[in-house]
């Protein structure tokens, strides 16, 4: 679309101004006025950042450093809450579950997204355009409703899949228990987010200059070889950024397990760290503990992802 912008831009751009604006406006303050204008443009956003990001974070930190008791009110207890959180078996089980889940689901999902993006990049037909739309569609479906739909599809009464095991003579599959439960959850997430990541990676592929793999074509490399050896390395950075955002999302895992919990009694209040923080606050009124839980989780995610971006950017800058 930025193509359309261009002709207009060229037409609208007159010959470069002979005098710079600074000279054209006598007086002290072109620079100063520009500073003020710039700051004013940013100000409304900054207000929201302070009120709904900095303040809540600061408050969560403050809460997490205090303990509440009926007799004393809030009392400063330093890092004691964090000690409890990291020793809490429920929190640890939830965290470990989410890490295991992510270690399997994220590579599968991003791998599928990458394959789909490469396929899209290879052909441009009506078929591929329809595929692109359908694959992206789940992104527009609220996660809660996606989880509900899959819940119905998995269920023995409503869904078509529980009975597939009849083919090999088994009983109906239970998607809501045992080993299948995490796989069922993973499928809901994969369904919802593969298309989105596919579009992001596809956009990166479309941005690659054609000359990049012309040489490989001349050398007689197959499309698959080119895809794997030329295109994929070239969009490494887009892939790793998609991975970060996915990791951040996975660590906050809440909606899907919260909905599937209605089908699957195995999903308890501590199934994921975020579910745990929620139930601590709203079931037990343990707000300080809940704040410490979500702050600890948020901080872990933040530090890891920021460090990752920092390192990869460094490396990219050096290369």
């Amino acid at each position: 679309m930025s193509v359309n912008v261009l002709p207009g831009r060229q037409a609208a751009t007159p010959t470069p101004p002979a005098v710079s604006p600074r000279q054209s406006r006598p007086g002290l303050s072109f620079q100063a006025r520009q500073s003020v204008s710039g700051a004013l443009f940013v100000l409304p956003f900054l207000v929201i950042v302070v009120l709904f990001l900095a303040l809540p974070l600061g408050y969560a930190l403050w809460l997490s450093l205090h303990s509440e008791s009926l007799a004393l009110g809030n009392k400063f207890t330093g890092l004691a809450q964090y000690g409890h959180v990291f020793k809490d078996p429920e929190f640890r089980a939830g965290l470990w579950r989410v890490i295991r889940f992510g270690a399997v689901q994220i590579p599968i999902m991003l791998g599928l997204a990458l394959v789909a993006a490469l396929a899209l990049d290879a052909i441009n037909t009506r078929f591929s355009r329809v595929f692109r739309l359908i694959a992206f569609m789940p992104y527009a479906v609220p996660v809660v409703i996606g989880a509900l739909m899959w819940g119905f599809l998995y269920s023995k009464t409503f869904g078509p899949f529980a009975g597939v095991s009849h083919v090999w003579g088994g009983g109906p599959l239970n998607f809501f228990g045992g080993h299948l439960l995490l796989i069922s959850l993973g499928n809901v997430v994969t369904w919802a987010w593969t298309g989105y990541n596919m579009i992001v990676l596809y956009s990166a592929l479309q941005g690659l200059p054609r000359e990049m793999y012309e040489a490989a074509v001349v050398d007689g490399a197959s499309p698959i070889q080119i895809a794997w050896h030329v295109k994929v390395p070239a969009i490494r950075q887009a892939i790793s950024l998609a991975a970060i955002f996915t990791v951040i999302g996975t660590m906050q895992f809440f909606n899907e397990p919260a909905i599937l919990a209605r089908f699957a009694p195995d999903i308890d209040a501590g199934y994921t760290p975020n579910l745990y923080a929620y139930s601590q606050a709203f079931r037990f009124g343990a707000f300080n503990y809940s704040a410490a839980t979500s702050f600890a989780l948020g901080l872990t995610v933040f530090v890891l992802s920021y460090a990752y971006v920092f390192v990869t950017r460094r490396r990219a800058a050096r290369a």
Binding site: F41, V144, G195, S222, Q252
Partner: protein, 306 residues
């Protein structure tokens, strides 16, 4: 990586057209493989959507007795819709309106803030800008749900919880969108153009509205859709903030219905209302995406994650 500067775009597109023409010849192994991948993918992504459309045409008994992926005995979509909007004194209609209001207002507000701030960061210098730019990347990494509980506590001190503002105000925060706009502006709005407008003594706000905004339309549409979807689909925030049923958005409302249906085994609250309600909830966004396709696709590629 994806340095889609406005300058190199036309050349690139010309090249791409060549690139896509040659492999289109059917029969090449790469092309065949790509078609197979897409065919399988299409089936996978479409099945739940096909299911929900079919399920919304079934009555409760049909839902339980007929094959899941094919139509039942009757075509009950109109009856389901009527029942959907009549149940609980028409609360579903209210949820639909709430959702539209929350997401419309939030998306409009967030887009405005992001557009202003992104432009300010891309084309001005002022004290603290450097710091703000590096902080922006950090803000993107803060997991949103970690903010919800403390925000709830803060808002409850000033008696704002359980009002529409408790959902709208926190949704105005979108550092990622500010980042997208900033990248787009620095690539597509030439400084000389702004200087020319200043020579003509246009005010800064007027330059923004009349010169800059039309040039960055794709990213504005993208950002608007992003924030619209984020609020429309949000569950955790309204779940925490709202306790009164008539303030619920669709996501929270439908899940409360679903809870009732599950608990009572579908005796009072019927599952056909849940399926029909789910279908009605996803249709508006899908239409918005289809209509605005050409905008968000280009907007996404431009900012595409440096």
């Amino acid at each position: 990586m994806s340095t889609t500067t406005a300058a190199d775009t036309p050349a690139r597109h010309a090249v791409r057209r060549d690139a896509t023409r040659s492999p289109r010849r059917a029969g090449e192994p790469g092309t065949r493989l790509a078609h197979v991948i897409m065919g399988v993918g299409m089936l996978y992504f479409a099945v739940p959507l096909i299911w929900i459309v079919i399920a919304a045409t079934k009555s409760q008994p049909d839902l339980l007795s007929s094959p899941a992926l094919w139509f039942g005995h009757g075509f009950d979509l109109p009856a389901n819709l009527r029942q959907l909007f009549r149940e609980d004194d028409g609360v579903y209609g209210r949820w639909l309106v709430n959702t539209a209001v929350y997401s419309g207002v939030s998306a409009l507000g967030a887009t405005t803030l992001c557009a202003l701030a992104g432009y300010g960061l891309a084309r001005f210098t002022f004290p603290g800008k450097r710091f703000l730019e590096s902080a922006l990347l950090g803000m993107i990494m803060v997991p949103g749900t970690a903010l919800v509980l403390p925000t709830y506590l803060l808002l409850s001190h000033i008696h704002l919880v359980n009002t529409m503002w408790a959902v709208i105000l926190p949704s105005l925060l979108s550092p990622f969108c500010t980042y997208l706009v900033r990248v787009y502006v620095s690539e597509s709005v030439p400084v000389e153009l702004l200087e020319a407008a200043r020579m003509d003594r246009a005010g800064e706000l007027r330059i923004f509205v009349q010169v800059v905004l039309p040039m960055i339309k794709p990213v504005i549409v993208t950002v608007f859709l992003f924030t619209l979807v984020a609020t429309w689909n949000n569950y955790f925030l309204p779940l925490v903030m709202l306790s009164e049923s008539k303030l619920y958005p669709l996501t929270v409302g439908l899940t409360t219905w679903f809870n009732t249906a599950q608990q009572e085994g579908g005796t009072r609250m019927l599952f056909n209302l849940i399926t029909t309600g789910a279908l009605v909830a996803i249709v508006p966004l899908i239409i918005a995406f289809l209509m605005l396709q050409r905008f968000w696709r280009s907007g996404l590629s431009s900012g595409s994650l440096k």
